[in-house]
Symmetry: C2
Subunit: 333 residues, 2 copies
């Protein structure tokens, strides 16, 4: 595949630019998800990794390594590692959330069972650690081990913070780093480390992934309430029904008067939701400027992601990474 005019999204441009290496990543993933003895493992894994995910995280690793001039083979291992960690967390998330659909298909826990999802997830975690040890680079192993711990800690925090109106923006940020940003930032950072980039560049790559992940998640939160138009579309309201403390809700709760607080307690803490409650929630968020404030934060994180790339080499990949940050927030701009 070559760069062409039909590929306009930054993600597609990156995929085209890194096509040869992405193919190597896909081959390695397919090779390492095999199990001679337990065919259930590749069945469950293939169901998820071949469901047409965007492979955004491994692509970030490849892009960071290439941008820093890496010429060796191990960015492919690290990209596959990142995708395995991501896939393992998806398998476990779907068990924890009792999800029934992912990427438009039934989840593995529904097609097989929770047991298979838990154990195959564990297998992929272990495989990811095997893959990273093959790089022989102790520092990337520390970064990815730390990211794995942050992910799990964020998930547990989300579990205990959900439905709790005391959840503030500090906790929200920790949850978001666990859910999304920790693996984004590890993905970009290890690309720089394996390439032997200078410390300020490695730090910039980490910060890019972190900011990109946070912007991505805040946009997700906003779209679940209809974006900034406050128009309730067919896919809105999932977070509300699941009583999640997302950023616009946290901001609205912080400014709530007694009556509004009683409303949030009823719908979020008690889970007693009635017809019209979602629209009322959106109206309260609009009244306090919560949607707009969250939107401004997403834009600021995206801008930070773009800005930190300044010290990295002037290269088409850098432009694509910048455009990716802009693209992530384009839907709420």
């Amino acid at each position: 595949m070559s760069l062409d005019e039909t590929a306009r999204k930054p993600h597609d441009l990156l995929a085209a630019h890194l096509a040869v290496e992405m193919e190597a990543v896909n081959l390695l993933i397919r090779e390492r998800m095999a199990s001679e003895h337990a065919p259930r493992i590749p069945q469950v894994t293939a169901h998820l990794v071949e469901a047409g995910g965007k492979r955004l995280r491994p692509m970030l690793t490849l892009a960071a390594a290439r941008l820093c001039g890496y010429g060796g083979p191990f960015h492919v291992h690290l990209a596959a590692t990142v995708e395995f960690i991501h896939t393992a967390t998806l398998l476990h998330d779907d068990v924890v959330d009792e999800s029934e659909r992912r990427r438009g298909r039934p989840t593995a826990n529904l097609l097989w069972d929770n047991k298979s999802s838990v154990l195959v997830g564990d297998y992929l975690f272990a495989r990811s650690f095997q893959l990273m040890t093959e790089t022989g680079n102790m520092r990337v192993m520390g970064i990815l081990a730390n990211a794995s711990a942050t992910i799990a800690e964020g998930e547990v925090l989300q579990l205990t913070a959900a439905q709790d109106l005391a959840t503030d923006e500090g906790i929200y940020l920790k949850v978001v780093r666990g859910k999304t940003a920790a693996l984004f930032s590890a993905a970009t950072e290890v690309g720089g480390v394996i390439a032997g980039a200078a410390e300020p560049q490695v730090r910039a790559l980490h910060d890019y992934g972190d900011a990109l992940g946070i912007a991505f998640q805040i946009v997700d939160d906003l779209l679940d309430y209809g974006g900034t138009d406050a128009v309730i579309g067919k896919n809105t309201g999932d977070d509300f029904r699941e009583r999640k403390l997302t950023l616009p809700v946290i901001k609205a709760v912080a400014k709530a008067d007694a009556e509004e607080r009683a409303f949030w307690q009823r719908v979020i803490e008690k889970g007693d939701q009635r017809e019209g409650d979602l629209a009322h929630a959106v109206a309260l968020m609009a009244r306090h400027g919560a949607m707009e404030a969250a939107r401004q934060e997403a834009l600021a994180w995206a801008e930070k992601a773009r800005a930190v790339l300044a010290i990295l080499p002037d290269d088409p990949i850098r432009d694509m990474l910048r455009d990716l940050a802009a693209y992530v927030v384009a839907r709420i701009s």
Copy 2:
């Protein structure tokens, strides 16, 4: 604590001999299971790690390192790593098996929920990888990553092999290595590696852990059917009720005539179990010498464990490890 006459079991002798280092392991475990943000993590972990488990696996790591003359600090990290991996697998096992009791107490999945057990298990896996990276020793990381993959693969294999009469002794051995022996052998092997032991000694330590783990598991299988006396005690029959293909059952099925095979199909594959079936199963195993054959295998593995230690230094720890192998099979000798 010092060695004294009241500590007669090899396990207690080892614990007394390694008391100072075991205390360091316990401190490190308590330090690393903390989570600033998610108190649920230390709660769930403490429930399990402070429930009075024997700490056999970390003790094997300490013993192997000391036996090979190690004077550094990292065997403590490796011992804590091994215990974290073990604890993570227990948390996930109890979810997969829907267990309600472990070590005489309600399981974490019962006290909290499956979600917490899955996510805290993931956290402990990640923490175990952080701990091992601190050793800076790439080889021990590879060994422990491989062991983690073998454990997860064995668990998935057990899931698909359960209730399937086609399960043969080859599959059984793979399941047992995953369930038990892989972590035992990794625990002893990394002790030798961190001590810089010669290759034949490292190999012997691996083989000791492997053989010890397999003997341990076969004994467990036998005791679940009342040991070699074929006396059904109060704790027998759990494996039968759970329709597990353990070694004595596999051996009896292999020699079954048509009528016996129909019995096994009914009770194991279909799960249609009636009064008197357990006693009949034990009688069939006795008729074909299945219990005795499994007993001989356990004794042979224990003997192998004792024998491979010959090339290790003549030291009280070596005697204790030998006695431990004998002790594991003493209940069926």
